[in-house]
């Protein structure tokens, strides 16, 4: 069968008067793309949401970070997260066919990206400003970038698209629905870095000129006829389910029912609940548990994490030991066992082995005010990365390619940490993403998704 490459481009179906989406300004909080049912093969991992991104102060003016970023009390000095960039704008992602059958649905997609996107193939690529996909960059570079609108070409990190090429005819076309995040999730003023900063109430962001693009293989006439006559098929892919919980004490236990059959990995991250949807904090950041520093009055110091324990139906699975951290945390060295499990959960789940995470990000915050602060908020490194905490949790269940069955068997997580005696514990949000293998059976127009 002969075929040719073609780039398919689709504009949103729910356009307003202009191709602009700004949840708090024009009320358009949802973006819908419909990809028609065509006898073609879609290369899902090339799918991108392209557009122009901009952030604005409440009076519609732009920030002036190039001049003011290091000022003592920057007025309305607004920016977005540098690690995940424009991905922070997507609150949830749904992929359906044009008849309404759902293939994949990821809530808190932006927090999922907080775990995946900071992994890099090259540290140099990350800091040298070559990214025109996610809109990533060091925080100071990102801040300058926000002074003007910029184009992005955002890959969609969903297992359905990242799997094998997709028969667009058999899948009955696709509908991508993106729910956009609130402004105060995306935009922040780095109050955490500088407590003199003025809260930028009313700041907002805007997506404009949106186009979805995806590479397709267009078969010759005979090939198209063959695709149209085929009515049966099976597709296997991995997708994420989202779970949310609030950690209310330093001795934390959670039990939940995933109800997924071939569970391949679990990844997650933590953020102080106060930081979510708050202009003063970066809602996409992934620190470990924090308590308030006496000196600054903000959540600044790490709560020492002693151990993680993962269980399935009351049995420690997949590790029959506690993943202990207290010694490395005391010493201020990278926590290698926890990192190993966490990175494997992503590498194995994505079949990607050259991702790495800079372990220096583990060492960002001090345990107490009396210890050396590894990340000095008042000074940024020119030739080096931001030492902002990328503390993930996660385990891989897919060493042999079969996954683990979590149907009717609850998952439990025990997180032991040690809060200094005179400190109070602030609520922290825990985002968990369970990756499991799904199967879709296509039979004469009927689509049956088996998870």
């Amino acid at each position: 069968m002969n075929s040719r490459r073609e780039l398919l481009q689709v504009i949103p179906t729910n356009l307003g008067a202009k191709n602009e989406f700004s949840p708090s300004r024009n009320g358009l909080q949802t973006v819908v793309f419909q990809i028609p049912k065509l006898p073609r093969v879609m290369i899902g991992r090339t799918l991108r949401i392209n557009g122009t991104f901009g952030i604005f102060k409440s009076n519609d003016s732009k920030s002036d970070n190039a001049n003011l970023w290091l000022d003592e009390a920057p007025l309305d000095s607004i920016s977005i997260d540098g690690r995940i960039g424009v991905s922070s704008c997507i609150d949830s992602l749904s992929i359906q066919n044009l008849r309404g059958a759902t293939y994949s649905n990821v809530k808190n997609y932006n927090r999922l990206c907080s775990s995946i996107v900071p992994l890099n193939q090259s540290f140099n690529n990350y800091i040298n400003g070559c990214d025109e996909e996610y809109g990533q960059g060091k925080q100071v570079t990102q801040a300058k970038r926000c002074d003007k609108d910029f184009d992005f070409s955002l890959p969609v990190l969903d297992g359905f698209l990242q799997a094998d090429p997709i028969d667009m005819y058999l899948t009955e076309g696709l509908q991508l629905t993106l729910s956009l995040s609130p402004d105060n999730f995306v935009i922040n003023n780095k109050y955490w870095r500088n407590q003199q900063a003025t809260t930028p109430n009313g700041a907002y962001y805007k997506w404009s000129d949106l186009v979805l693009s995806v590479e397709t293989e267009v078969p010759d006439e005979a090939g198209q006829q063959a695709m149209m006559s085929n009515t049966k098929g099976l597709m296997t892919y991995r997708t994420y389910s989202s779970f949310y919980s609030v950690i209310l004490s330093n001795q934390y236990n959670i039990s939940m029912l995933f109800n997924t059959r071939n569970t391949t990995a679990l990844i997650g991250n933590i953020s102080p609940s106060e930081w979510i949807n708050n202009y003063q904090y970066n809602s996409s950041m992934t620190p470990q548990l924090l308590y308030k520093s006496d000196a600054t009055g903000v959540l600044n110091n790490n709560i020492r994490v002693n151990s993680f324990t993962y269980q399935k139906a009351g049995v420690r699975t997949p590790y029959d030991f506690e993943i202990r951290s207290e010694k490395t945390q005391d010493e201020g060295t990278a926590d290698s066992v926890k990192n190993l499990t966490e990175i494997e959960a992503i590498r194995d789940g994505w079949d990607i082995y050259n991702f790495y995470k800079s372990l220096e990000t583990e060492l960002s915050n001090p345990l107490t005010d009396t210890k050396l602060n590894k990340f000095d908020r008042s000074k940024y490194a020119i030739n080096y990365q931001d030492k902002e905490n990328a503390y993930m949790i996660g385990v891989s269940y897919d060493k042999l390619g079969s996954g683990v069955d979590f149907r009717n068997q609850p998952f439990s997580l025990r997180l032991q940490s040690e809060l200094p005696a005179d400190q109070s514990f602030q609520p922290h949000s825990l985002y968990l993403f369970v990756q499991a293998e799904n199967q879709i059976v296509f039979d004469n127009g009927m689509v049956n998704v088996i998870s």
Binding site: N65, L70, N128, G129, R145
Partner: protein, 527 residues
Amino acid sequence: MYKYIIKMELPEVLKVQPLSRPVNQVCSTDILQPTTFTQTQCKFVFDKKGILDSNSKLHVAQTVVNTGTIPNDRSGVNARCYLPTATGATAMVRRAYLTIGGREVSDLLEVGHYNTWKRHHYSNEYKKGVATPHQAGNDVYVGSASATLDSNNDATSKINRGFAPPYGTIGRCSSEYGIMSKTSPEQFNVWGKPVPALLDVSDAPKRLLTNDPTTTPGFLIELGQLCPVLVGLQLPLFAIEGEVALVIEWAPKTWGHRFMYNVTDVEGSAVQKDKLVSTIVEDEVFLITDTLYYPELMGEIHDQIMTKGGYSIPYDDVITQTNFLQYDVASGETQKDLQITLSGKRVKRIITQTQQDQEPVVATLCCGFYNSYALRRPKSYQYRIDSNNFYSLPLKNSALQRQESNAIEGIPMVLNSSVFSFNNQADKQTGSIVAPNDFNLTNRDCNSHIQYNDAGTQFWTGIKIENQMGQGHLMSSQPVIYSERSEATAFDPSDVAPTTQTQRVVRFFCLYQKVMNINGGLVEIIS
């Protein structure tokens, strides 16, 4: 054509890939001198022995002499010229072609420009650790800061370590502090003080070109960079009857082509760039050829080639087409169409370069003429193949244009986005940029040129036509039509300011499939 390809599969030892099982192998490295050499070209003839490893390299060096006449004669003074930062040593070569039995097998025009595109796909680690030591160039960006030092002692100045805005720019690796040290003895009285000059970047002294053949550095260019046919092929020289020769034509000997100039020479005097002349050092031009021998397999390969029908080797060659576009500011947005003649060829990729060649503009760039200069305002473009639009909508989003460029080689370009286009720098409506704050590149110097001048200078675009199986598209008799909707503004650099018109040399590098049949010692090329 494909009946030839499937004739006999190429043995592993003739491919550039790891061998599936251990094989006895002898590697002989020889120095091959050119049979003819002039200041315009040279020719190498390969010995009829063994298998030519495509990792073989051309060694080449040049001197740059300031030819100013007395009393301004500075020919004895080193002008500290350097190789164009995005291109490196391939800037010395304009054209390279491989002939077998007198027939051209592979012909690469504009070697320097084509390899500039290829170099953008090297990882930063490879550029820094391999490409730069072998071929010079200076194109790794790692974050930077302003060139301006803030001498105030207030809290903000302390926080920003004495650097003035703009914050958040990116540049080539340079000093974080620019502080005088004891290694600057003449400045012993200012130890510990920041000095703006120390914030600038320059190529390593060992890679700066001198005016003396005995001290000027030599560089290595891989054969695969000169002849695309050798990228995936080890040439079985022992079984080819005809003369196998590599002919190299040198690039023009003036600034911007073979080399770029520093504003001042080693004595600090201003350099008159038009007086600088490059000379290729004859004694330093030679091939370092690796010849491979597989004692147990050579007989079998020889037998296959001489008596059993030989091998058909598919490979990619490059057609280069050059056009010219002129943009009049007064005309506003206009559509421009260019035709690319490719009929009958199975084309895999088209790479499009839009070179700014006006000397006043090029003189400010570290990359010299090896640029693909974007317009300040974003443009949209479309390709039409066999009367069908390649894109359902013309591409206008610069990030999507970048992704399409990334798709061409299948490897993303490792290229600072501010060097690629003016996205996020120039005003989208007017095209204006107010230096230094609007640039995302630093205002620190690189080899005496301001780094933000490099913004938008590597806007390489193009299309990947081949399908997922690597098959190109067989072009009909109709030409491919490249059309763009674009607009020049008064802010686009040109030879006069404010700009009323600007121009681009539009160069298309088209990769298409060919087949080389080696049979009975003779080589046949099927296009």
